[in-house]
């Protein structure tokens, strides 16, 4: 029994990272119906930025007390700002001019941006895995035979906090309202006096900032990164967004946690489960889409499908 609970903990913390990335996917898709394939690489860029900040501060080991809080806050803010700016820049340079082009054009551009980011990061730190300083002490509590580490709690908590904040932002602020309006009907929103360009840039900025936070957390959680990290993680996060209902914030979070859980459970209970876990994840996705084509929490708006 405690193995099952342990795997649930593992699955939730893995899912927390997927969920943070999925939020960005789902926001961008919700507003301009673009699958932003560069998003996974923005996430890795967040890890790289965090690494640069920590290296710049001369941090290489565990920190305690106020130093810990200060450094973590500074790094996470720096990663979020850099990635947010990067996301906005990508929108401005790569996607804006293609907004009214056939949908295939921005999609291919997104893949191109993904290539560029991967290669920039490869030039930056080389093609090999890089160690990430283990800044946060990792006390592990054992409850009834189940190990829960501080880092796991951090990942899960951060995902939940970010989702709640995002949900509040979208439903309780003026710009959030503008985002919802733009998502529903861009032209009508413009006619109502909403600055569509600003709204879309803000969407990219927030989505990418969340990816930056996820990048920092994944660096701390795994103690490791490499330039190609975002490809696999981005794919899983995209799947999470689709599973939960793309365009839906709570759905993205639910999808992320579900995929993490399915992976962990499949690994545990299927013989040679490690290599079958992806098969199980995508089988579940196919089944869900057969019975609920718009995802678990997706609304069946015709223009979203």
């Amino acid at each position: 029994m405690h193995v099952l609970i342990q795997q649930l903990v593992n699955g939730l913390s893995l899912g927390g990272i997927y969920a943070l990335i999925a939020l960005g996917y789902t926001m961008v898709y919700g507003i301009i119906e673009l699958i932003n394939f560069a998003h996974g690489d923005v996430y890795t860029f967040g890890t790289f930025t965090s690494l640069a900040v920590l290296t710049g501060l001369g941090v290489s080991g565990e920190l305690h007390g106020p130093a810990l809080i200060g450094v973590v806050a500074l790094t996470i803010v720096a990663a979020m700002l850099t990635c947010g700016a990067l996301g906005a820049l990508i929108e401005l340079l790569a996607y804006r001019r293609l907004r009214n082009a056939p949908r295939l054009a921005p999609l291919i551009t997104a893949i191109g941006v993904s290539f560029i980011l991967e290669n920039v990061m490869q030039l930056w730190h080389g093609p090999s895995p890089i160690a990430f300083p283990e800044v946060i002490p990792n006390p592990t509590a054992t409850i009834a035979g189940v190990d829960v580490s501080a880092k796991q709690i951090l990942v899960i908590a951060l995902a939940l906090v970010m989702m709640t904040a995002l949900q509040l932002f979208i439903y309780d602020t003026k710009i959030g309202k503008a985002m919802r309006a733009t998502a529903q009907d861009r032209d009508a929103a413009q006619l109502m006096g909403i600055n569509v360009n600003t709204t879309i840039v803000v969407t990219f900025l927030i989505g990418s900032a969340l990816a930056g936070a996820a990048g920092f957390v994944s660096g701390v959680y795994y103690g490791n990164t490499w330039f190609f990290n975002g490809f696999e993680a981005g794919l899983k996060a995209f799947t999470a967004a689709v599973l939960g209902g793309i365009g839906n914030i709570v759905g993205a979070m639910l999808g992320g946690f579900l995929i993490g859980l399915i992976e962990a459970i499949a690994t545990q209970y299927i013989p040679q489960g490690e290599q079958w876990s992806n098969v199980v994840v995508f089988s579940v996705l196919v089944l869900v889409l057969i019975f609920r084509p718009s995802g678990l929490l997706g609304e069946s708006l015709p223009e979203k499908v």
Binding site: Q6, E118, E134, N224
Partner: protein, 418 residues
């Protein structure tokens, strides 16, 4: 990597097309030279050397070549019967910085076209060997590899398919051991440490899975229990679920077949997070690099790995070689320098033997080949070397290393019984 690979391959193909065009023209000029100047070339016998000598692979290739060149120079200093002189004829099989099978094949064609080349040392990489064996087999040119470890190069039935022109004749030999023996050595070593329950993980690639499969069979044969054998998926970075599963089974050993980049370092690192920190970790030469030390961090300490070559600094038979090498090249011996030295020495001995039986006249390649194949108990820096009918060394020596304080330390030599 999948997506960037396409571009890289295209670039390499273009480069190969170019360099093939260039070197085919140089091939014709070389062969026309040797036919026109037949008489003076009788005084020279060339030992072909094919290794990656440029780009990232040069770090391995150059020290290896230096070993072979040293053997040639020593033979000349001693004097060759019949007044002949040996020449080390080295060609680079790297294209754009990495070993390239097509270039390696082209190099062997160049050797074959030169009548003065009686035998060759190389290649370094198994993929290059696969492209070269059909050509050396066709020409009957003996080649000894210092470092290619893939079992299918020598073992039937796969090896026979490579011998396209003369399936009954083998021209490919090697002085390194093979990955299947490396798995066996790992199993033997693990049992020696008193470990009984292994959990095996591999990266599902040719090298890693092959190594892990042999380890599993040998570990069971040696009385150990295998609790599970799992395969990693490319690109995966989170192995906590897998390791939790392993932890629940209570192993005293985690064996990893694969390389650092395909998951070795992360796996080792995450063992600490899943209650397996104190469990022994053992791998093959895929994790025998500084990347593993860096990426696995403090977790790397206490890990073991095997390497399919002897540690020359610890071999009494290699002291003279190590001294001579350092004097000649002013650098440290590379991991495969002694193997290349031995490969060249075996070829030189075979050529001198064929010279003697041919009355001091230039022998043909067939005579040299059969002399190489007949090598038995040849005293070399890496011990007594001989070849079995497949062309594999009969003296499979492996080394075990343990990582402590972020450094790999030599532990012991394993000599397998064949």
């Amino acid at each position: 990597m999948v997506r960037t690979g396409g571009f890289a391959r295209l670039a390499v193909l273009t480069a190969v097309a170019f360099s093939t065009a260039c070197s085919s023209s140089s091939t014709t000029s070389t062969s026309s030279q040797s036919t026109s100047s037949d008489a003076p070339s009788g005084a020279t016998i060339k030992i072909g050397i094919d290794l990656p000598l440029s780009g990232g692979d040069a770090a391995q290739g150059i020290p290896t070549r230096n070993g072979a060149v040293l053997a040639v120079e020593e033979a000349n200093a001693k004097g060759v019967p019949g007044g002949f002189k040996f020449v080390a004829y080295d060609l680079d099989d790297a294209v754009q910085g990495a070993h390239d099978p097509a270039q390696g094949a082209q190099n062997v064609k160049t050797f074959v076209a030169d009548d003065a080349v009686l035998a060759m040392v190389g290649p370094f990489n198994s993929s290059v060997a696969k492209a070269q064996i059909p050509i050396s087999n066709d020409a009957g040119l003996a080649q000894i590899s210092p470092a290619a470890t893939n079992p299918t190069l020598t073992k039937p039935p796969d090896a026979v398919k490579l011998r396209t022109s003369h399936p009954d004749t083998n021209t490919f030999f090697r002085v390194c051991t093979t990955d299947d023996r490396q798995g066996a050595a790992g199993a033997q070593f693990a049992r020696k440490l008193g470990l009984k329950k292994a959990f095996i993980v591999d990266d599902n690639e040719t090298y890693g899975k092959g190594l892990a499969d042999v380890f599993e069979a040998q570990f069971k044969a040696a009385g150990g229990t295998v609790l599970g054998h799992e395969h990693l998926t490319k690109g995966q970075a989170d192995f906590k679920a897998l390791l939790t599963k392993a932890h629940a089974l209570g192993p005293d050993l985690v064996f990893y077949g694969g390389t650092t980049v395909t998951g070795g370092a992360l796996l080792r690192k995450q063992m600490g997070d899943t209650g397996l920190g104190a469990v022994t970790f053992l791998g093959g030469d895929g994790i025998s690099d500084t990347e593993f030390l860096k990426s696995a961090g403090a977790g790397a300490n206490g890990s073991y790995y095997t390497v399919a070559a002897p540690e020359t600094s610890k071999l009494p038979s290699a002291t003279a070689f190590v001294k001579a090498y350092e004097k000649r090249w002013n650098t440290d011996v590379g991991p495969y320098s002694a193997n290349a030295y031995t490969a060249a020495e075996i070829e030189i001995a075979a050529i001198e033997k064929s010279l003697a039986s041919n009355g001091g006249k230039m022998p043909d390649r067939a005579a040299v080949l059969s002399a190489v194949a007949a090598t038995k108990g040849f005293a070399s820096p890496i011990g007594a070397v001989g070849f079995d009918p497949n062309g594999d060394t009969t003296a499979p020596i492996l080394s075990v290393y343990k990582i402590a304080n972020g450094k790999a330390n030599f532990i012991e030599q394993i000599v397998l019984k064949v």
